[in-house]
Amino acid sequence: MKQVLEGSHAVSEAVRLARVQVISAYPITPQTHIVEAISAFCADGTMDARFLCVESEHSAMAAVIAAASTGVRAFTATSSHGLAYMHELLHWAAAARLPIVMAEVNRALGPGWNIWMDQTDSLSQRDTGWIQLYCEDGQDVLDTTLMAFRLAEAVHLPVMVVLDAFYLSHTFEPVDVPRQNQVDRFLPPLVPRISLDTAHPRVLNQMAPPGVYMEMRYNIQTAMAQVPRRLTQYQKEFRAIFDRPPGDAVEAVQCEDAEVVLVTSGTISSTCRQVISDLRSRGEKIGMLKIKMFRPFPIALVRRFLGAARKVAVVDRNFSFGASGVFAQELRAALCNLDGHPPVFGYIAGLGGRDVTPDTLVEIYRRTQDCPTPPEESIWIGLNQEVVQSWYN
């Protein structure tokens, strides 16, 4: 049934419908509403699950690793410093091949202390072996969370469902919440590959010497490589059951004849759709490539949709110091071996919750149109020079 739901609660509803058995989390703004609702579900019997209160995010991830090791469906949620604090165990969860799902609300890292939208927290976990899926609106949040469990349990890798702080987490909008029997059809009970049981003791994750470690890593990559095909397969099932399409790994919007293709992720994609519709009505040739799946990075799709593009403008709401925006890096790497690939302009916008408005996106489109080649590696949009000069430089 369609109802007006906060983005955070779209996650909570999906977790309830997925019949998650163990949840462990530590509160942090702007993630807290997610686990608040789930803890209420556990307390009032709506969910038949254990909610483990812990003293830190590191312990929250340790608890869901332990729970998943016993073969139950496990979930956690965090943001920013909480995610950073989990870092060591993120590697562990992936290498132990545990199908954990985590909601990650994108928030800036301090100092300066900032609770607002910024992707650097999740993107700095890119090498941990987690699948990463970015959400565009409230419906996408719910659908992606359901899809995350299906994917995680198919390839035995953890999945991070990433949503924008406030723009999604605290925004109310209509969301179609499916019925339990629909979700049960889409998401059958977990068939664990690993299931610790005190009646049949065994040891997990022992020393892996040089003779086997490399093969274990190779297998993680093999599992990652399966994700695009699995996603396509589950999208079909999803559509048949829920009567709506779940988000594609990559979506090309009016790219064919575009002079400039903006590459976006998260809620910027939604605002960009509005910009495309406004500019196209005035005869401007603008397109968009929305990247939902960041890990595994959809190299083949990026090549297919952007290989023949004229100019590509990547909008990065994140930054890797000493390099560039992270999406721009990945995109350049994906395109570099293609003959005659388009120039890739890297734009940095909306860090630490700065608003990305339709005007911001129009400015990016125009600046790309006006330059034959990128004038610099990263173009920072809307910098206030007075503030720049007043701080360390």
Partner: protein
């Protein structure tokens, strides 16, 4: 698309008002998007919340800069907050006031509507005299300004959202609807 900005103070149910109005508009068949000012809320401090409504899916996800209308839950905020910031010409300003303010200058160029929401709240036993809960009276009054959403949809939304004792909140919304004074356009001096 219409954009509405709510002004209030932490603890006045300003964000709740925006959500209730969003849910009522959704019941009336609109697409809605509602969110608070992104940040931290403190009791008594000025807060803002926003509502977008449209007959088609709302794609824009940036802040609201040029609202069509504003709802002001505390007129004293005029002293500290730029209430008409970005407000479109002839947009409605709905205030909680027992009578027309002596100084109409802040409203010039806009349409003014007033409702004695504090009186309505106290009469219905909502909150206390010093801390009345006026939010449902305000959104009930707002429904008269645009004829959107129908007051019945507001009543239904409150009934569903307020889990304990919804009746007086619904009554306050209906009283707000019945007693709002649409003063209209305030001419520039």
């Amino acid at each position: 698309m219409q954009e509405i900005r709510f002004h209030g103070r932490g603890g006045q149910g300003t964000v709740v008002a925006s959500i209730l109005l969003a849910k009522a508009c959704f019941r009336a068949g609109y697409y809605v998007q509602s969110f608070p000012l992104f940040g931290v809320e403190r009791r008594g401090a000025p807060v803002e919340a926003y509502l977008r409504l449209d007959t088609k899916k709302i794609l824009i996800r940036s802040h609201v800069y040029t609202p069509d209308h504003v709802i002001v839950q505390d007129v004293n905020l005029f002293q500290s907050v730029d209430i008409t910031r970005g407000l479109k010409p002839e947009g409605w300003i709905l205030i909680d006031a027992p009578a027309l303010p002596a100084n109409l200058e802040p409203f010039s160029g806009f349409r003014l509507a007033l409702v004695d929401a504090t009186h309505i709240a106290v009469k219905n036993g909502l909150g206390t005299r010093t801390h009345p809960l006026i939010n449902t009276a305000m959104i009930g009054a707002f429904a008269r300004l645009l004829d959107v959403p129908p007051i019945d949809m507001i009543a239904e939304a409150i009934q569903k959202e307020v889990t304990s004792r919804p009746r007086p909140y619904v009554q306050a919304a209906q009283d707000g609807y019945a007693n709002v004074h649409l003063f209209g356009l305030v001419n520039r001096p």
